[in-house]
């Protein structure tokens, strides 16, 4: 007897599947996709699922051995529950849209919150029991947040705690929505693409107390010595003057204005520009301890930059490759931190010196 295949539908699907895998493996480097996320969903079998499959196989073997059709019926039932599980988990994941918001500055070793807004765009069905987690990237630790139920058309906000272990320029690839709904047999995941490149600033290491005292004393001297009457953008009050249109309304001193019944604005003293340069000698030692020390130095430099700019210093940065002018202000701080986030040990240096950080006055 010749048994011919009745339905030959799988062939085109197999071809597509083969083409996708082959395409992902052989694609041009810039187009190369992550094989892990080749398929729109990821699937992991839970412990309960493993038991379930083991029991299914056992009953299957028993059915084959005994030719008992009712056991075949039970095998059919168990398989159908797997299919139902697939459909229900899909209905939970489908139509979920995620928007993630991160804080502006992220420092290594410092925990921060990612705000995630989840929207269920399905027409009819709610989504049940799913968790959201940042897709893993090297150096990132994160917890996940859980949503028990999200009705159709509604949105909800959750916060994930994230922490980066080291400074780097990192590309977050998106979020993974996972669910073990409905039967806890499988954990199905859906990757929500949300590429975001961000710079993780170095850890902020407090500078040695001696050094800080020295720098603070510099600051004090500057203030006492410089008790000039010049007006400027400092923080100490210089005088009050009558308000004229065009003056910064934030500088109006309301109490004095009330007393004198005339609008008065504050004028500040000009501050002395204390110029310091953080001299970071980014040489290297060829050892693990050396690497650690280098990272410590980067953190120290970053800590110093923060500390000094917060106190009104004009801070420059000098490394073996780059030099930053002495400037003040937040934006300058971030450009310094950007540079420190990317700094690498200079391996061209022939003398085997330890990396060091010094603050020199200008």
């Amino acid at each position: 007897m010749i048994i011919r295949p009745v339905i030959n539908v799988p062939l085109p699907w197999l071809t597509i599947l083969f083409a996708r895998i082959y395409g992902a493996r052989r694609g041009k480097p810039q187009e190369k996709r992550d094989v892990k996320y080749l398929f729109p969903r990821t699937l992991k079998v839970t412990k309960l699922g493993k038991w379930y499959i083991a029991i299914l196989l056992l009953i299957g073997i028993a059915a084959i051995n005994t030719e008992n059709n009712l056991l075949y019926l039970i095998v059919g039932m168990l398989l159908s529950l797997i299919i139902i599980s697939g459909i229900m988990s899909e209905s939970t994941l489908r139509g979920l849209k995620v928007k993630r918001t991160l804080p502006g500055q992220i420092f290594a070793g410092r925990e921060f919150l990612a705000r995630i807004e989840i929207r269920n765009t399905k027409k009819v069905l709610p989504s049940f029991s799913f968790a959201l987690r940042e897709l893993s990237v090297p150096g990132l630790d994160s917890n996940d947040s859980y949503v028990l139920k999200l009705k159709n058309g509604e949105k909800v906000t959750r916060h994930n705690n994230l922490i980066f272990n080291k400074r780097a320029v990192v590309t977050l690839r998106g979020l993974m929505i996972t669910t073990s709904f409905p039967f806890s047999l499988f954990i199905k995941g859906k990757r929500e693409k949300a590429d975001l490149t961000l710079t993780v600033y170095p850890r902020l290491c407090p500078a040695p107390i001696k050094e800080l005292e020295r720098l603070n004393s510099l600051n004090r001297i500057a203030h006492t010595k410089e008790n000039t009457t010049a007006k400027g953008d400092g923080i100490d009050l210089h005088s009050l003057k009558k308000y004229v249109p065009g003056d910064d309304s934030r500088r109006i001193d309301w109490k004095s204005s009330a007393r004198s019944r005339v609008l008065l604005t504050k004028e500040f003293e000009r501050e002395e520009e204390i110029r310091v340069v953080i001299d970071f000698d980014n040489t290297t030692e060829d050892s693990t301890a050396g690497e650690e020390y280098f990272e410590h130095c980067v953190s120290l430099a970053a800590g110093l930059a923060c500390h000094l700019i917060e106190r009104g210093f004009y801070v420059g940065l000098k490394t073996r490759e780059a030099r930053f002018e002495c400037k003040s202000g937040k934006s300058h701080l971030f450009s310094l931190l950007d540079a420190l986030a990317l700094i690498e040990p200079d391996k061209t240096c022939t003398t085997s010196r330890r990396p060091s950080v010094r603050v020199t006055e200008r």
């Binding site: 007897m1 048994i3 011919r4 009745v6 339905i7 309960l48 009953i59 028993a62 059915a63 084959i64 051995n65 005994t66 030719e67 008992n68 059709n69 009712l70 056991l71 075949y72 019926l73 039970i74 095998v75 059919g76 039932m77 398989l79 159908s80 529950l81 299919i83 139902i84 459909i87 229900m88 209905s91 139509g95 849209k97 765009t121 399905k122 027409k123 009819v124 069905l125 709610p126 049940f128 029991s129 859980y146 028990l148 139920k149 009705k151 073990s180 709904f181 409905p182 039967f183 806890s184 590429d195």
Partner: protein, 668 residues
């Protein structure tokens, strides 16, 4: 769930009703007990171990039946587990126990009630597992959460799960029919209890059949593809007995020779020339009886049932090599001609009267004393005599006769088929006609719902075969009152029986050959469908090319399946558009209108792609194409200005797109 488990166990033969009642009581008690002390966990564990030991001993020392002991253990364990349901894990353990109870039911029962149980189990398990999943998630995340939040499942969700359950049952059956039956049946459960039947062994004692005449247990079901014959009742012939002793009958030969196989599974007894119009085909499902006899209406000619070998003798009895311990299913073709010719040199003396008393011989002579009576007339006279002078009863008294036959003929004068048949055969022999006894079944009741004959123990019957004018004829002296069933089965029971029969036929006995026939029919259906699709396409082509007009084309005559398919695909597609991706698409549309997407696609062809860090305006500026700038402007007013474009604006955009496409085509 607990009830479901108990129902499952109820189907298992090894479990007595007392155990079930006990388990039900324990289960009920568990609901009554409200306070659950913390140390109950350890008590339950201890109880489980003790129960296990108890049933292990039960298996080793008493029952020796692993299945029985295991099921009893499971039943009590599940009932006691009801006392210890706290965490999600406890519930899981309980569901597993119920599941195993159902497996036990599957392994040792063939009742159609199982269908109901498994359907309810699917519904319950889907719900139980969903709740287990959510409870488990909550327990793992929030330590203080014990109960599910209210209004968790909306009515639409409930409806969806009900639909999914129905869908799951459909898939279950679809998979059931698809899973290849490559079974080797090494450990088949051959433990079906065989019905004790009398009258089908080497010898019977008079009065043996009386015991079963009140038993309503079903013996066999006979499907008749040609329907029930109207003019004549069917006699399902079993064993023939030829030697009379004072207490009963014996068969001198049973399995004399093997029947030759004509094709793979087909055994042919009679000469094929004998197979004619008076043939009747029957599909017989024989319950396990404590006999190796194969039954069939009148004279069996062809038997088809996958038997390895079959045996027969001169009188046409058919036998299995061994007593079967499971249901036997076969197709038989019988000759229902009243007369059959047999080989003469069988060596059996059908005229032996040595054991008959002188009174019986005298009676035979007296009934047939007229001269020149043919054998046929003699037989008729004896039959009439018996019918007129003897009455039918299922509980004949014991008389003063030396043998049961004398008792019947001369003292009590009442009896049932066995006595009538014995008396008839004895008197025929006394009158010089070769005769023997046949035991078998009457045709029983016709089940109109299932289209089969339902034959019970109480339809057991015995009659006479006599050789008249060289042909063996069936003769029956039993009064007509003895030829009808004693109990009328109610419509509901008939319906349930037919349901059970179908369940066993299509589910319990579903086999590889059934699968092959299904596959063949699917193949022929798909061939028909593809032919119809081809025809449909050809008709459309003809109509378009003007070869045939609409009325001439066979569009509706030959292509109706293709049309149906087309309509079905259209409906599914429409539903998909409406409910499937509709929402996501509309969200997408709001964020990026179609014309902008078309522009992006066109630009991609010439290697211009918008970077993720780029705004639409920046991208338009970088492209340096005026058309792109125009389109982007319109896009921004739609996307950020939430403004609908006017017709004129739309036309402009269309033109810009056209120009963009043509220039892209040229540069490509």
């Amino acid at each position: 769930m607990a009830i479901l488990g108990l129902l499952g166990v109820y189907l298992v033969r090894e479990v007595g009703s007392s155990l079930l009642v006990a388990a039900a009581l324990i289960a009920t008690l568990s609901f009554a007990v409200k306070r659950r002390p913390e140390r109950l966990k350890s008590i339950w564990n201890l109880a489980a171990i003790l129960l296990f030991l108890f049933f292990a001993l039960d298996y080793m020392l008493f029952s020796q039946n692993l299945m029985g002991s295991a099921i009893r253990f499971l039943t009590i364990l599940a009932a006691t587990k009801l006392f210890d349901l706290k965490s999600a894990r406890d519930y899981l353990v309980f569901y597993s126990l119920v599941f195993f109870q159902i497996i036990a039911a599957a392994a040792s029962s063939t009742s159609p009630l199982f269908l109901l149980i498994i359907s309810i189990f699917i519904i319950c398990s889907i719900w139980a597992m969903i709740i287990f999943n959510i409870k488990g998630e909550l327990e793992s995340r929030y330590t203080d959460t014990r109960t599910l939040p209210p209004n968790l499942f909306s009515p639409s969700f409930l409806l969806t799960t009900v639909a999914l359950t129905a869908f799951s049952i459909i898939i279950t059956f679809a998979l059931f029919f698809i899973i290849p039956r490559v079974g080797i049946g090494l450990m088949q459960n051959r433990d079906l209890t065989a019905l004790k039947v009398s009258g089908f062994s080497d010898s019977i004692r008079l009065g043996d059949l009386g015991a079963v005449k009140r038993d309503t247990a079903v013996v066999m079901r006979v499907e008749l593809p040609a329907g029930l014959p109207e003019n004549e009742a069917l006699y399902f012939r079993g064993q023939t007995l030829d030697r009379y002793s004072s207490t009963g009958w014996e068969a001198t030969t049973r399995k004399k020779r093997k029947i030759s196989k004509k094709s793979t599974d087909r055994f042919v007894l009679g000469r094929l020339t004998e197979i004619g119009s008076s043939m009747i085909e029957q599909n017989i499902t024989l319950e396990p009886l404590e006999t190796d006899v194969i039954f069939g209406a009148s004279r069996l000619m062809v038997i088809d049932g996958g038997f390895q070998e079959l045996w027969t003798n001169e009188s046409g009895g058919v036998y299995l090599p061994n007593i079967p311990y499971s249901r036997v299913k076969y197709t038989a073709i019988s000759s229902v001609d009243a007369k059959v010719k047999e080989a003469k040199d069988s060596g059996i003396d059908y005229l032996e009267t040595s054991e008959l008393s002188a009174d019986v011989m005298k009676l035979a002579k007296r009934i047939t004393r007229e001269r020149f009576l043919s054998e046929q007339e003699k037989a008729e006279k004896i039959k009439r005599y018996l019918r007129e002078n003897y009455s039918y009863t299922l509980s004949p008294d014991k008389g003063a006769g030396a043998t049961p036959l004398d008792d019947f003929l001369f003292f009590t004068k009442e009896g049932y088929c066995e006595q009538f048949a014995t008396a008839y055969a004895a008197l025929l022999r006394g009158a010089g006609i070769r005769a023997r006894i046949v035991t078998g079944f009457l045709q029983g009741e016709w089940n109109k719902y299932g289209g089969y004959l339902l034959i019970r123990q109480q339809d057991a019957h015995s009659w006479v075969e006599a050789n008249i004018d060289g042909y063996w004829r069936r003769l029956d002296a039993t009064p007509s009152i003895g030829l009808v069933g004693f109990t009328r089965t109610s419509t509901l029971s008939m319906y349930l029986d037919s349901l059970g029969f179908k369940w066993r036929r299509y589910i319990v006995k579903y086999s590889l050959s059934d699968q092959l026939s299904v596959a063949r029919s699917v193949e022929s259906q798909t061939n028909r469908l593809s032919a119809s699709v081809r025809n449909f396409i050809a008709s459309i082509k003809d109509m378009l090319s003007g070869k045939k007009s609409f009325s001439q084309s066979s569009l509706f005559r030959k292509s109706s399946p293709a049309l149906a398919l087309l309509i079905l695909i259209t409906i599914i597609w429409a539903l998909f558009i409406k409910y499937g991706r509709g929402r996501e698409d509309s969200e997408e549309k709001k964020e990026r209108p179609r014309f902008y997407r078309t522009m992006e696609k066109t630009l991609k062809k010439i290697g211009l792609e918008r970077r993720s860090s780029e705004t639409a305006t920046e991208f338009a500026r970088r492209s340096g194409i005026s058309n792109v700038r125009d389109i982007t402007e319109a896009f921004e007013s739609v996307r950020y200005g939430h403004r609908e474009l006017t017709k004129i604006e739309m036309r402009k955009i269309e033109e810009s797109l056209k120009a963009l496409k043509s220039s892209a085509g040229q540069s490509a």
